[in-house]
Symmetry: C2
Subunit: 479 residues, 2 copies
C-alpha cells in the first residue's frame, strides 16, 4: 500500500497515514473485511517507525474505520465481505497511487429515481435534436471522421469556433492557444499529471469540486483548503498561507462555485492573479457555469486579466449542451499549453473527432440564443426548488439562493448522521452529494449539495418534497 508522506507537512505522519487510509476505506478502495498490512510491514515499506503506524491504526480504530484484534491483525470494519475468489489475495498487497476516489464512489448511480447528486442538466433542456441531426448528417456524409485519430490538440475548426466564443467573453485567445479535452475533468487531470507531483502544494477553495480533489490527491499533492466568504476564496488567508508554503498551483472555480454557488468578486480575481504572478505559479480556473447566470452576467474570467500565461482556463461545453459528447476546452499560453498537449497524447491520443465536429455548428451559430433560454429555464427550476425549501425545510437547515449554476448548498444543523440520511434516501431512490467529499476529509461536513436541474420540473418537485420529509424525520430523530 503506497502512502505519499510529506515530512514538511503541517500534519503529523500518523495523521497523514490515518487520513489516507480513511479516504481509501470511505472510497471503497479498501473493502470491508480486508486485512491491513501489519504494523511492522507498513512501517518498513513507508520507512517510518512502528510507533507512527500504531498511532495511525489506533486513530482509525477509534473512528470505527478498522477493527484490530491481538494476534489476528487489523481489518477494515463493517460487515465482512464475501470471501475473495481463491488466488486473488495477492492483489490486496499490490501498491497503488489512488489515495482517494470519491468521484467513483459518489457519482455512479444507474437506478436512482431522483438524482440530486450530480450537477447536470436534464436532457429535455439540452439541444440534443440539433446536435443529433448534425451528427447524423456527419456520419453519413463524412464517415471517414470515424476513421481518423485527428489532432491531439483538437480539431482546428472547433478550436477556431471556441476561440471566437471565448473572445466574446473577454478571453483573448487564438485557436492555437486552445486544446480540446474530454470534459473539464480531463483538463484538470492533464494539468495535475503534468505539473503536480508528490508534496507539491495545491490550494483549493473550501469546499471544492470533489473530482479535482481526487485528481490532486492522486498526484500526492499537499492540498490546502482556503476558506471562502460571499466574495469567494479569502485571498487574505491564501496570501498568509502562501508565505508558509509557496503554491505550485491554485485551483479555483470562481463563478457560481461548485458546490457552494458563491462567485468571486472582481477585486479578488485581480488579487489572485497578482499572487500567482508573484509566486510564478499556475491558476486553474474551472468555469463550467459562467453562462448560467440568473440575473446579471458574472465578472469576467480571471483569464481575461492574464497577460503572462499564469491561468489555465477550462470552459466546459459538455455540461451545458451534451455531457455525453464530453467536449470541453482548455485555454493556456506558452509552453504550459504545449506540455499539456503532450500529456493529452499520452493519455488517449486525442478526443473523438466526430464528437468534436458534431457540437461545432451549434456552438458557432446557436449557442448564445440557446444559453439565454437555458438561463430562464434554470432560474425557473431554482426558484421552484427554493420555494419548496422555504415551505418545507425543517428548522435549522439554511442555504443561500445561488445567482447562477445548477446547485443548492444546504447547511444542516450538524454533521452527524448524514451518512445515515444518505443511505435512507438511497432506499427511496433519492440521491444527494454529502458535503464531506468536497473537503479534504479531515472532519465531517454538515453540508449537502442538491442539483435542481437533472430532472424534469415535476420530478424535481416530487423528489425534493420527498427528500424534505426524510430530512425532517432525520432531524426530528435527534440527530
Amino acid at each position: 500500500m503506497h502512502i505519499e508522506l510529506v515530512r514538511s507537512s503541517t500534519k503529523s505522519l500518523p495523521q497523514q497515514i490515518s487520513e489516507t487510509l480513511a479516504q481509501r476505506i470511505t472510497s471503497g478502495l479498501l473493502q470491508p473485511g480486508m486485512r491491513l498490512p501489519s504494523v511492522r510491514s507498513l512501517a518498513s515499506s513507508l520507512k517510518v517507525s512502528q510507533v507512527t503506524v500504531s498511532k495511525a491504526y489506533d486513530d482509525l480504530e477509534s473512528h470505527g474505520h478498522i477493527l484490530c484484534s491481538q494476534g489476528k491483525g487489523c481489518f477494515v470494519a463493517k460487515k465482512p465481505q464475501k470471501a475473495q475468489e481463491s488466488g486473488f489475495g495477492w492483489q490486496d498487497g499490490y501498491d497503488d497511487f489512488l489515495p482517494r476516489a470519491q468521484l467513483w464512489r459518489n457519482f455512479d448511480y444507474s437506478n436512482v429515481r431522483y438524482p440530486f447528486h450530480i450537477a447536470a442538466i436534464h436532457s429535455d433542456l439540452l439541444p440534443l435534436d440539433e446536435i443529433g441531426s448534425t451528427m447524423s448528417r456527419l456520419v453519413l456524409e463524412q464517415p471517414e471522421l470515424m476513421a481518423s485519430y485527428g489532432n491531439f490538440q483538437g480539431d482546428s475548426e472547433l478550436r477556431e469556433v471556441m476561440s471566437r466564443h471565448l473572445r466574446k467573453h473577454g478571453v483573448a485567445v487564438q485557436a492555437s492557444g486552445i486544446m480540446i479535452t474530454s470534459g473539464s475533468q480531463q483538463g484538470i487531470d492533464l494539468v495535475a499529471r503534468t505539473f503536480v507531483g508528490p508534496g507539491d502544494t495545491v490550494y483549493l477553495e473550501a469546499p471544492s469540486y470533489t473530482g479535482a480533489i481526487d485528481v490532486f490527491a492522486g498526484r500526492g499533492a499537499e492540498m490546502i483548503f482556503v476558506p471562502m466568504d460571499d466574495e469567494g476564496m479569502r485571498i487574505d488567508v491564501l496570501t498568509k498561507l502562501c508565505d508558509r508554503r509557496p503554491p505550485k498551483l491554485i485551483y479555483t472555480n470562481p463563478t457560481f462555485q461548485n458546490p457552494s454557488g458563491v462567485t468571486m468578486s472582481i477585486t479578488r480575481r485581480q488579487r489572485l492573479l497578482e499572487l500567482a504572478r508573484s509566486y510564478r505559479c499556475l491558476i486553474v480556473e474551472d468555469d463550467p457555469f459562467s453562462d448560467l447566470y440568473f440575473r446579471k452576467p458574472p465578472p469576467p474570467p480571471i483569464k481575461s486579466l492574464d497577460e503572462e500565461g499564469h491561468v489555465v482556463y477550462m470552459k466546459s461545453f459538455s455540461k451545458v449542451i451534451a455531457p455525453g459528447c464530453r467536449i470541453a476546452c482548455v485555454a493556456a499560453g506558452g509552453n504550459i499549453l504545449s506540455r499539456l498537449i503532450a500529456a493529452k497524447s499520452a493519455s488517449d491520443l486525442g478526443s473523438p473527432l466526430l464528437n468534436q465536429r458534431a457540437v461545432l455548428p451549434f456552438i458557432a451559430r446557436k449557442y448564445e440564443a440557446y444559453a439565454e433560454q437555458l438561463r430562464a429555464a434554470l432560474r425557473g427550476r431554482m426558484e421552484t426548488a427554493a420555494k419548496l425549501l422555504k415551505q418545507h425545510a425543517p428548522p435549522g437547515v439554511t442555504w443561500n439562493l445561488p445567482e447562477g449554476g445548477l446547485n443548492l448548498w444546504l447547511q444542516l444543523p450538524a454533521a452527524d448522521g448524514i451518512a445515515g440520511l444518505h443511505a435512507r434516501a438511497e432506499q427511496e431512490g433519492i440521491s444527494f452529494l454529502p458535503g464531506d467529499v468536497c473537503y479534504s476529509g479531515e472532519k465531517p461536513s454538515r453540508h449537502i449539495r442538491l442539483c435542481y436541474s437533472q430532472m424534469t420540473e415535476t420530478e424535481m418537485e416530487q423528489g425534493l418534497r420527498q427528500f424534505l420529509l426524510l430530512l425532517k424525520e432525520h432531524l426530528g430523530s435527534g440527530l
Copy 2:
C-alpha cells in the same frame, strides 16, 4: 525542471539526468534556444552535487543537444527560436512531470501525403457505413444518449458483448470484469497512473510501443527493456533481470508485436505468467492485432491462462473498426479492476456513451465475418509492400515478413542519418516512424517502422516506391 532520479538504478545519476534532458529536447518539450537551469540551481533542486550536473551537461553538449558558453550558460541547440512573448519566461522554470513525449512529437502530421508512420487502417477498409448508420439512428431515436454521463466502467450492454467476444477467443471474463476505455492508450495510461510510481520497475520488450514508453516514463518508472528473438520476449533474460530488480509490472504486446511483428510462443506465454505469479506482479497484455493474422490464428492470449488476476488484458476495437470512436476494453480481475475504474472516473468521468452504443451492434453481430475479410485485405497489402521491398530495397536493408498486424519493421545498415532521412522524407510528404522512439532512447536505433495499411493500395505502392528511392539515395550517400 523535475527529474526523477533513481539512486538504486544501474544507470549513474549524470546519465539519468542527461538522458531525461535529451528525451525532453528530442520531444520538443525543451525548445531550441531555451536556457537550461544553471548547474548550481539544478544541482540544488535535484539534491545532487554540482559535479553530477556538470557531467550531465557535458554529455549533452558532446551529443550536440545543448550549447554552453562561459558566463552565459547552456542553451538547447539548433536554430534559436523566435523570442517568446514577453512575460511568459517564468514558464520555462515551471516544473513538470513529462520526461518524454515521443507520441506527441511523432504522430501528429496533418499534411502528410503518404502516412507510413501511424499503425492504422485506411477508412476504405473499415466498416464505417455500418457504424455510421447505427450512430445516425441512435442520435435520432435516443438523443438522450448524448445527455448522459453513463457508467464509469462503461455501458453494461457493450461490456456484455465484449465479454462474449473475449470468451470466444479464450478469455473467460464476465461483463463485470470488463472496463471500456478511450482506446488502449487510455488503458495503458490508467494502469500506469494507478499502479506505477517513481522508481518502480517496469519491464518491456525491446523494442516496444512508444505510447507505452511515454506513459511509464511519465510516472517516473525505471524501465528495463528485455531483448526479443523470434519467439518474443526472452523470458530467460527477463528472469535473470527480475532477480536483480523485482518487477512492479511487465508490459507486453505478445501478438504481432508493435513494432517488430514478432509473436510470443505459447511456452513463453506460460513462463511469463509463472514469473508474474512468483513476483506477485501485473502483466499488461496489449492486444490490438490478434484478429489480424494472415495464415493461422496466433496462440491464445496470456489472459486465457490467468486464474489469479495477474493479467490486465487490453483489447482494442478502436484500431480495427473505427479509431475515431476510441473504443477499447480492459479485462481484469479482483480489486485491480475496481481500482482502475476509480482511476477512469478521475480521468474523464467515463467514455462517451453514444460512441459505445454505436459500435455495439457491429461487434455483436458482424465483427467475425468482417475480420475475415479484413485479414484477406491486409494480407494483400502486406504482400504488395513485401514485393516492392524485395524489388527495390537497397542492399543491407532487411526485414521479416510479419504473420499479422499492420507494420513492417526494417533494419537499415546503420543508425546514423535516420533523422536526416526522416526530414528528407517529410519534405516529400512521406512519414515513417524512426525506431529510436521504440526504445529507451539510450542509443540510436537502426530500425524504422512502416505501416502498409493506412493508405489505399495504389497510394501505398506509390509512396513506398518513392520512399525506397529516397532510401537508396540516403544509403548511397555514404550514410
